[in-house]
Amino acid sequence: MVLAESVHKRFGTVEVLRGIDLQIAAGEVMTILGPSGSGKSTFLRCINHLEKINAGRLYVDGNLIGYHERNGKLHEMRDSEVVKQRAEIGMVFQRFNLFPHKTAIENVIEAPMRVKGESKSVAVAHARALLDRVGLLDKCDNYPNQLSGGQQQRVAIARALAMKPKLMLFDEPTSALDPELVGDVLDVMRGLAEDGMTMVVVTHEIGFAREVGDQLVFMDGGVVVESGNPREVLANPQHERTKAFLSKVL
């Protein structure tokens, strides 16, 4: 589903990603671990072209992200084409980023109606089903600031799912939450994984990575240090850097 080949990303003179090679199959859950500044969030943002990569190739579902390749030459995509690619990739942010001037259900129906042109009745019915799924059917008409962090994040997940994405990206979805509320969000994500959604999750939740992940990637300094089956990597890390990191967080 996702194929990264030698992905490089620079911010000015700082090399944030220095050659990432990864492959994620359809229906797989990949969790990315690593210290802050290791480039894991940046890599996630490259997948839906919120950041432009400087070298390498990124494919989602066989399509090159952000560019057309014709006769060995890359052409930048028009905005309208980038937007179409993004519409098929859901993203959940650390800070939720719900639209504060819209109620929970308005947040969810906005993109399906405006981007996909769904009728209001269809969008609302789908949105109610999604909010029910994340356990917030009774909060449809609440504004985001009337919801707790965990509830906001679950609305954000429902909002991303409303576009029926083929891939979901999670950027530290539980890092801004009270410890008590983390569980609810992880439960929703676990349910998604069980239903066969392809997911890339940047997280610090080791338990989630172990139980739900099919593949674990440990990143540091803009490269993949170690990857493999999460249970094996966590139980028996091969690299010194991975061992040092895990000894602090486990």
Partner: protein, 336 residues
Amino acid sequence: MSSGATAENAGSTRPADIKAVPVRHPGRWVAMVVIGVLVAMFVHGAFFVHVHRGTLRQNRIPWDIVRKYLFSSNLLHGAVLTIELTAIAMAIGIAGGVLLAVMRMSVNPVVSGVAWVYVWFFRGTPVLVQLLFWYNISYLIPTPEKLTLGVPFGPAFVHFNPNTLITAFVAVSVGLGLNEAAYMSEIVRAGILSVDEGQTEAASSLGMTRGMTLRRIILPQAMRVIIPPTGNETISMLKTTSLAYVASVPELTTAASRIYATNYQTIPLLTVASLWYLFITSILTVIQYYVERYYARGSVRQLPPTPWQRFRTMLTTFHAPPPATVALTGRVGGAP
């Protein structure tokens, strides 16, 4: 109801309510006396007949003349013109301001440069000069009875007569509006910049285009920052329309000055004009209050009651303390 008490010890261990001696505020009494004297001086000077060495001196505001002209047709017509000029100028100003702000933030360097030059020019020249310029624009046109718009030395698109099209009223309202657009564009830009970057990212990740994101997500949130200074600009514009005297548009101030030019009752007529300006400003202030309230949805958990709602609550529940807040979504109680 008592917070902090658990079910077991509630009631039995609750200490008596604190009855402390309140802090004294002598400054309030001093301020009250000083202000009181000043107000008495003003009222005495403005409303009472003065007697100086046994003779009556007429050095007060002649309220009978104020009353005579307050609803005179010339001044009422002037007040209507003032409101019309303000409305048209602000409509042009707000529309132009949004357009310029969006242009200024465009990734297209030509478009953004044009917006920058516009703001630089219109903020850099006096609005009075701009009005005189628009009023006298026909002097710049070699054939004043026929103006042609089109590609230079190429095909023409439209012909019109500038002397009939650009009346004094049009010159003033458009002139004020174009000048206002420059100021409004900076207000709108500040509003757009105040919206969190994450909102744009969230909208992009949902596949929304940049235009859609601006219209549906960014501008509605920017409104909260844009409304107060826009209300300020509108009230300021109400007074700036008095510059229309350079084009002989008989708005409120011009109408008043035409009358006192003949009867020399300068102060009473300026008082009449000021009373009308105050009245219109009061209405604009109320409108601004409700517009701000509307755009506060989602940014405060519960909206405070309007003065009118508070008044009604006071009437219905005369002895009970008024509720602190009114539920925004119709359901009482906010976030869990």
